[in-house]
Symmetry: C2
Subunit: 366 residues, 2 copies
């Protein structure tokens, strides 16, 4: 490069005024300004190869001066891979998913990965298109942390061969791990807690989403867990009813109570999620019933708002941190097999003030 080159071109001179300079600087511009080759700029950008300190400084100065930012599409195309992990959840408005997505993002950041987040809103169509978009985006790994699942989508993911992890769905394959939550165990703890308090008449409330296809997998697991716990308890005189209502969680919970009161005999109500439980609170309290005096209520998920309900909600906790760690481990996969990376997370019962001994005179009794 001749010495004449350090006379800046008119174009480069303009870059000092970023408010006027619109055209994005590219790696060429940086190389020219720093008087090095493309490869060298790329090396300092990616921290690879040996570059002398002096050169590095010059390049960095040029980057700052030009306000240069590598083009995501060009670099990912050239690199043939990304540092992006895909995360698909059902519904960001549900605190459980928001909290989980957040935990995964923080965990991913620790490993130098970014997150691309999509929500299906429980729609099978959006579930499918989310998967397709993720696959087209050449993500480094994909976590499907949804309540609903789709065998077709799973096939696409497995066929792509990228590392993937499913929540409560499928079995480990060569490229895919499955993290399970011990919903059954959690339900068992809830039922045992209520039995110990003296309850014998149970209501289980589950909700479904319109247009969401088959019942949500996570809900089915909880449903079955509840039924099994009641069945196995070996306590005489136990009765349980299940009710299924449609709509967003809280609305469904309220509706379920309206339906159940007067027709079903219960002193304890178990909800499939905290949000459903919140709606049940409303249904009960709007009718002058007291929790836990008239009805004990148990939720599921231990979302942040449980502590702030009145009374604070007894619920089953899903360990967020362990979950996000397990997801990252499965996606980043350092040597272990998917078999080894699959696991079942233990749940625990958080007892707060929404559960207490039954009141046989309760107005809730049919």
């Amino acid at each position: 490069m001749s010495k004449d080159d350090n006379v800046s071109s008119p174009r480069l001179t303009k870059t000092f005024d970023t408010s006027v300079f619109k055209a994005k600087a590219k790696i060429q511009d940086v190389a020219r300004l720093a008087e090095v080759s493309l490869g060298t700029v790329s090396a300092v950008l990616n921290g690879k190869g040996r570059v002398s300190t002096a050169t590095r400084d010059r390049v960095q100065a040029a980057i700052v001066q030009l306000n240069y930012r590598p083009d995501l599409y060009a670099s990912n195309l050239a690199r043939r891979n990304t540092q992006i992990l895909g995360v698909i959840v059902s519904n960001l408005e549900n605190p459980f998913f928001a909290e989980t997505a957040n935990a995964v993002e923080i965990e991913a950041e620790r490993h130098g990965f970014q997150i691309s987040l999509m929500a299906t809103n429980f729609s099978p169509v959006r579930h499918r298109s989310s998967v397709e978009r993720m696959l087209g985006a050449r993500i480094a790994g994909l976590a499907v942390l949804t309540s609903e699942h789709d065998e077709q989508s799973r096939k696409l993911i497995l066929a792509s061969g990228i590392p993937s992890v499913f929540l409560d769905y499928g079995s480990p394959t060569e490229s895919s791990a499955t993290i399970r939550v011990d919903s059954g165990g959690g339900m068992r703890l809830a039922v045992e807690h209520l039995l110990a308090l003296g309850h014998r008449d149970f209501l289980f409330v589950r909700n479904s989403h319109k247009g969401a296809g088959p019942p949500l997998l996570s809900h089915r697991l909880r449903d079955e867990g509840f039924a099994a716990a009641v069945q196995d308890c070996n306590v005489p005189g136990v009765h349980a009813h299940a009710i299924d209502t449609e709509g967003p969680g809280a609305d469904a919970g309220e509706k379920a109570i309206a339906q159940a009161l007067g027709s079903i005999r219960f002193t304890a109500a178990v909800a499939v999620t905290d949000t459903v439980a919140m709606g049940m609170y409303r249904g009960l309290q709007a009718r002058g019933l007291s929790i836990p005096k008239d009805v004990s209520v148990v939720g599921f998920d231990n979302t942040y708002f449980c502590r702030f309900l009145h009374p604070p909600l007894t619920t089953v906790d899903i360990p967020r941190t362990e979950l996000s760690r397990a997801v990252l481990a499965a996606l980043l996969r350092k040597g272990e097999s998917c078999e080894e990376l699959s696991s079942t997370l233990a749940t625990s019962l958080i007892v707060r003030q929404s559960t207490g001994p039954p009141n046989r005179q309760s107005k809730s009794m049919a």
Copy 2:
């Protein structure tokens, strides 16, 4: 193309078994299988140009057979633009942001755009890096719908020249619009409602996030709106105190009540957000105080859970649908100037059961 070409190569034959075929099909493969050129495949992919029905069908069949999905990075690089809108919010765990992001996504989908969503968690550092990532991703437009703001980041966005929209921050420029929410008006409605009920002693509760830098802009607007409403009301004997606590909304609200009770005289409490109000519920109810008998409570945002609290929360509504429409209009910008695309959204008061006449004997009075 010679007729011999319809003898599939061994590679193409394997593609029938997607569970074994790992290498991603590329546009070349589709062209070869359909016996057309690259350009033709691209044309049917993007719905551009005229392609005969027969050819189109052949191409489509090949796409299905090969399970072909265009590479996002290659196509965006070649296209020189994306169909992706960036959305930055503060915190997905806050229902207001989750609901807003959702509304924007649905609106964007209607216009054929996808959303890339990032959360700052109120951290100035993450705010900045989110902006940089978005800019590197060549998004078609950027919506900054955060509570916190950063002048440096705004400069970067303006310098990039991409269409952008800010919530409650800055003034319209050539490339950037500003959507405002009439927080002051909402606060005025809340105060007038409480005054009409007979309240004279007010508490205002605001929260801040640790490590979040300066007070959140939206909170300041609400704060000032409250102060102005009280100041301007022309009712004698009105007193108002403001309290600022740190932490996530609900925790902060609970803490604020603990601090205020016994030291501040109030019969009505106004929260900067619904989440803070939820914490105040807990603070009051845990101490045996009744809402609204002892204290009336008003929230802000009208998030979905307000209806399910006990009692249902009176709150200020921010029109989500109008907000998401305004955001999309500003980003997609069909001819209008940013000046025209900037607006102030009216708020309204949703009166529920958390507000009522004051009780002069209340235990909440210091």
